[in-house]
Symmetry: C5
């Protein structure tokens, strides 16, 4: 999984019918200290992540392994909101 | 999913038989403000995206999770046309 | 899908048994004008693509969605031979 | 599979319900001599890898091919702890 | 599929139980002339590839499409040993 920071939302009115009610968030990939990279992707949110939060994103077919995304054309899913990261016994990120 | 801008069409007469009637669009990957990167890919269009529009593209096996693409050798699908993107409470793209 | 130019063939006598009779082509990735990038991959050919032709390649699990590649360890398949590409109303490639 | 060095842990309290009890490790990708690249990812640990150990990581849908990760939205799994790597008859890494 | 050169072996004693008896090889990605790139990956070997040989590697879920790798967390498989590559009618690699 990769780390990303929620920086916005993406609104689509005309969508493929099999995706309805989805909330797409704009994600900027970040390092372990939540420093963003200016490398953006769009991910489906099922954990109500808020703006500015660091999240874990699962990509590819793994993004479909939930009740809500099963059989949907989704390839990036927020699977968790990061509370804390330690690196070599030092806390490098705290929500 | 990634963001891209529709910049053209790709025509193939000789194709693998299991794909018929598909409309392939030429996509230039873009950032959250629709600034293109000169990094091209070919995506199947099922939402009638028009030239110059910003779209969301789902890749890999997720591109097959629709009635039309199920069991087809397609690895990039336009799943929505972007109407609006906000980044940190500011609208950075509007159709 | 990505665009590539057929530049050669790859011959393997010792292969994993589940792939027999496959014709592997050497592909150099290219842009929308068929300018190659010097970035090579090997793809299975089911449409009899010829040397120098621009092709569309489907990658990952999508490469297995044909009768011939179903259940085979193939991750790149030529799905069409490009006849014409237009970009912003201008023809940028013609076979 | 790719090589990575375990450098920390990632803690998430709010997670997608279908993942419970998972232990996420912070991985820094490394070369065959365990020299890290500063390129981070988050992987699920099922082999009790320790901090500083070099591990093999399987990505994408392959990460779900275990009893514990079957049908879970996981796209990176530690599948082994590296004991030794030889390159051209020379041992380049030893645990 | 990608081209790589076998440069060594990777030994793991502690592994995820569902992979037993697997032989992992250290692969350095290479171009069509077997010039290596210093970009390493670990692949499962089922064709008894030898050190220094150029091989074709299938990645992602396609690596599981053999009797031995079915339902195993493997994402890179050697599917053939390259004997010969021709590029634009010239032989650029011969075993």
């Amino acid at each position: 999984m990769i780390l990303g920071k929620v920086v916005g939302t993406v609104v689509c009115n005309k969508k493929n019918d099999s995706i309805s009610g989805a909330r797409y968030l704009l994600i900027d990939k970040c390092n372990q200290q939540c420093v963003t990279k200016g490398d953006y992707l769009v991910a489906l949110d099922l954990v109500s992540a808020g703006n500015g939060e660091m999240v874990i994103i699962s990509e590819s077919s793994s993004a479909r392994e939930t009740e809500d995304t099963f059989n949907k054309p989704v390839d990036a899913l927020i699977v968790g909101i990061v509370d804390l990261i330690d690196e070599n016994e030092t806390i490098v990120y705290k929500k």
